[in-house]
Amino acid sequence: MKNEWPLWEIFIRGQHGMSHRHVGSLHAPDAEMAIKNARDVYTRRNEGVSIWVVEANHIAASSPSDKGPLYEPSESKVYRHPTFFDIPEEVGAM
């Protein structure tokens, strides 16, 4: 346990023009090996064109109990969505 390799979170860009997406995690001694291992574990079938690795303990995450305070304020602001506004048909596409 004392000598366990750190955990890395792996992000892969699936195609050019897309953003990197979290695909999973793995253990590796350093960033270079994490990228090599990620190549073997997560892109065996051409799933990616670019790999990011981040040591898991460097990721800060919101807590599930903050769900209310974080997201409720946006629930009452329906006017942020374009469908809130009625546009007369005569005006055409908008």
């Binding site: 366990e4 090996m33 574990v41 599930p64």
Partner: protein, 325 residues
């Protein structure tokens, strides 16, 4: 299945929290690692996902056994890719288990010292090349039966691992069927080997789904938590129904004289495996239990200097970089 006889842990949590948790599951929500969950849910999942991961890893041994002796370079490349996939599947699952608060080393050590199990099927030997075809066809076929519904399991990381695995698993079954089909359509000796492989692996494959429902005592809680999606007998029946026509196509005979189509039920009637054999294998008395655990322990011990060396190198590099800044 890859996880057999998982004992559901009793849970002694606040009833109000438990009810809210169950309501989330009933509503089809996914539970994520940082969400509140009953201790029993957490422990049962660690055991189940861990056993599943161990099965993927130990499952490399019977197939790895034939990589150097594959009949053609193409078959060898295919088998190598398949066995590499199994390693990947083990890794996806270990990571899912780790999100529940168990470390990789802890869970590995529990396999190595026998506190955790892997699927009974991998305690059977692969005696010849026909067995490799039969393993892909039957063992991976049985695994798919269980893994497809598990994509909908309630625990997010487990569900996501299963989705990745299922995408790759179909290759495993098809390459196996292709390999055994080649033999079934080959010389009389080859066909005999294919039949012999089916004879030996049929009942061990049926055992993969675990004991009969009437003896399966841990199902109810796991099914309520959606970490078990179907009963053992449901999945076993589905597997039999799917596999019989595949064997017929090959001109091979399922080694069960009482196997017959039941018009009324719309299913095949079949003979249950010898459950005393299953319980012996689970207890450690199968043909290969000792070899499998010895091989995993040797790999772990022999790899210790590599794990330590790479970590020491990484630390030294980081310290140098720190000093230079």
């Amino acid at each position: 299945m890859y996880a057999q006889m998982i004992k559901s842990e009793a849970t002694q949590d606040d009833p109000e929290k438990l009810a809210a948790f169950q309501a989330r599951i009933d509503a089809g929500e996914k539970i994520e690692p940082k969400d509140w969950m009953p201790e029993g849910y957490r422990k049962t999942l660690i055991r189940q996902i861990g056993q599943h991961a161990h099965s993927e890893i130990v499952g490399q041994l019977p197939e790895g056994n034939w990589i150097t002796r594959a009949p053609t370079l193409e078959r060898k490349a295919i088998l190598l890719a398949k066995v590499q996939d199994e390693a990947g599947h083990g890794l996806y699952l270990y990571c899912a288990a780790e999100t529940l608060g168990v470390s990789r080393d802890e869970i590995t050590e529990m396999l190595l010292d026998g506190r955790m199990k892997y699927s009974s099927i991998f305690n059977y030997p692969t005696l010849n090349w026909a067995d490799i075809g039969a393993v892909g066809w039957l063992v991976d076929g049985a695994a798919i039966m269980n893994q497809v519904p598990l994509q909908r399991t309630s625990f997010g990381p487990y569900s996501r691992a299963m989705i990745r695995i299922c995408k790759e698993e179909s290759f495993h079954q098809r390459q196996g069927y292709d390999a055994i089909r080649k033999m079934a359509e080959g010389t009389p000796e080859q066909k005999k080997m294919a039949q012999d492989a089916l004879n030996r692996l049929w009942y061990p494959s049926l055992m993969m789904f675990g004991p009969s429902d009437k003896d399966s005592v841990h199902s109810a809680q796991s099914m309520a938590w959606k970490i078990k999606m179907n009963t053992n007998d449901e999945l076993r029946q589905k597997f039999v129904d799917q596999t019989v026509p595949q064997a017929e196509y090959l001109g091979l005979t399922i080694p069960d004289p009482d196997l017959k189509w039941n018009e009324e039920r719309g299913h095949y009637d079949y003979t249950d495996p010898d459950w005393s054999e299953f319980f012996e294998v689970i207890k450690g008395n199968g043909p290969c239990n000792v070899d499998r655990l010895a091989a995993r322990n040797k790999a772990w011990d022999d790899g210790a200097w590599v794990r330590d060396g790479l970590l020491a190198h990484a630390k030294k590099k980081a310290a140098r970089q720190h000093a230079a800044e």
